[in-house]
């Protein structure tokens, strides 16, 4: 359990590490080129690991709905945006606002898809996040 907790924390560290390295690459090249390298290097790495571990095409991926295959192009914009932002507003601010957007849009998406959820928890959570964004925006020089 402690081991898995450490892995989950490490996964979070690696998310920010990845964004910082991509952000550094964007400083030398461009945000879009940094997103390209992130994807092609990641692709090579996953291909090698999957070839060694096996089971890449297990299950019935052909039966997935067509829109489930759209994650790649969305990810290109997402990685480019993160690489562009991190040098401008810092790692913590970038991560925090991305988390805020992910949470708020996640609730909207869940409600639109009719996923079960607690309305009061959703209202409280979104209200706290919006309050945090308001604090972050106001009172600056």
């Amino acid at each position: 359990m402690i081991g898995f907790a450490a892995l989950a924390i490490l996964a979070g560290v690696l998310v920010s590490l990845s964004r910082q390295i991509n952000g550094r690459l964007a400083l030398s090249t461009s945000a879009m080129e940094s997103s390209f390298w992130n994807h092609i290097v990641g692709l090579g790495f996953i291909t090698v690991v999957a070839a060694l571990a096996g089971g890449l095409f297990a299950g019935s991926p052909a039966q997935a709905p067509w829109w489930a295959y759209l994650g790649g192009p969305v990810g290109v914009i997402f990685i480019a945006a993160g690489s562009w932002l991190i040098a401008r507003i810092g790692a913590a601010q970038t991560a925090l606002l991305i988390i805020a957007g992910q949470m708020v849009f996640g609730v909207l998406l869940d409600m639109w898809l009719g996923a079960p959820g607690n309305l009061w928890a959703r209202i409280t959570g979104v209200a706290l996040i919006l309050a945090g964004m308001w604090v972050s925006r106001t009172g600056r020089d």
Partner: protein, 155 residues
């Protein structure tokens, strides 16, 4: 406590919030793919189609290179770090931590490392010292996220 080095411009603020919205879409798309195929497949496909999409966008936009000098080789390894993340979370998802514990601990690891990186100016990125206001905003946003993670999806 000192204020942040620079105020956040509205365009950066909105772009980061919108990028978070894109991330929630990615989680939905890639998660649906993982429900039909393997976890490797659900990460391999978006990296493959993303590589093609990035090539097309580079060909159309032709962005200028910021510097003529070649950057050090390690800056090309961000994709490895991202791919390892997927593999780590696939291990913890199936442990007692489940989805909510994995996300919550991931947020903690992410924020602590980000603050450390900002304060030290790691990886050649600008150094910045977060102020009291930044820590208050961080506390509110993380608190709201934890409410949603642990209580938002149970009826």
């Amino acid at each position: 406590m000192p204020q942040s080095a620079q105020p956040t411009h509205l365009i950066h603020f909105a772009a980061a919030f919108g990028a978070g919205g894109l991330l929630s879409l990615m989680v939905l798309f890639n998660g649906t793919l993982a429900a039909y195929g393997s976890l490797f497949f659900a990460s391999w496909v978006p990296h493959l189609t993303g590589t093609v999409a990035a090539l097309l966008l580079l060909a159309i936009m032709r962005p200028k290179r910021a510097k003529a000098a070649r950057p050090p080789l390690w800056v090309y390894l961000g994709g490895v770090s991202g791919a390892v993340t997927v593999m780590l979370t696939s291990a913890t998802l199936n442990s007692a931590l489940a989805l909510s514990g994995t996300i919550a601990l991931g947020l903690a690891g992410q924020m602590v490392f980000c603050l450390f990186a900002d304060i030290r100016g790691l990886f050649g990125l600008p150094q910045r010292t977060p102020g009291a206001r930044d820590y208050l905003a961080l506390s509110l946003i993380i608190a709201g996220s934890l409410v949603l993670i642990f209580f938002g999806s149970t009826p």
